[in-house]
Amino acid sequence: MMLFSRVRGLPVMTPGDANRLGEVRGLTVDSAPWRVTSVRMARGRLRRGAVVPWSALRAAGPDMLIVRPAGGPEEVAAHHELIGSRVLTECGEERGTVLDAAFDPVTARIEAVLTTRGELPPGRLLGLGDHALVIRTGRAHHQA
């Protein structure tokens, strides 16, 4: 299991020549199923954005991400930041903000989302957009 907050700032390297491509700025997630689809990173001194699809990663370790040589950086795609987004139930009620999320580095599936009002399993998530992360209304979730 890996945390979004731990991945941020890790170097992205190519294997063999150990060429440093840049460092991780954030992860893009996609719903249905909830998984990490790509890694956004900052390149060079001007910190230009680039996106590496998760499938182009050979390994994701605790200290660096290794990219397959063929899977070079691509252009920046549409992205909604999960960390820090507000949480809204499907009944239009605010439930704090997202603090962090845990995912499996092998399958890239999101395992849990940690909010200011407790932890959410991926089954409760409905959608992530530019305004909020929408969740299903559940009864047994009050952990705050």
Partner: protein, 194 residues
Amino acid sequence: MNGLTGVRSLTTLPVVTLGGDALAHVRDTVFDTSAGRIASFTLTGRTLLSGPLPRDLPWPAVHCLGPHAVMVRDAGALCDLPPSRAHRDAVRGRLLGAQVLTDDGEAVGTVLDVLVESGTSGRLAAFRLAANRELVHGSRHRRHRVYVPRGEALRVTGRALVIPSHARTYVTDDLPAFVARVGERHARGREVAS
């Protein structure tokens, strides 16, 4: 139980899809006064300088009305409508500022706010009035803001609204107490019906 929300506080609420995208903000609430519930919302754009949108959100397309957002299923919920109709609807369905009369013809005040049930019903539950002295006795120098339940048969004629005279028994200036009393009354009504 669903809470009550004043429609004045609905203005500026975001309209959010279940996918988490904000589509617009609520500008005005239009009532279907014959059915006693919300008919639609008129909308404004999302930025500070964007004016009214030529689209509206009909109530059947609303997934849930919450305290922090109006939830819709997807962006297809908004309907285009000609601006002339938007204006006409907004004027016709507006209740704020309307005069309130009892059915024995006594003017009791003007509407300051309309309380609707949040959730999926959109039912119009009560009014907040600036009360005349006929309704609330007391100091002339105090401004009286009271809650009155809507009658079972709500009638709106032009810019005036008629409530049954027995609704005066439920007048209060304290919202939580009011909600409890209206709940009691509904419960009693159900007992009588069954």
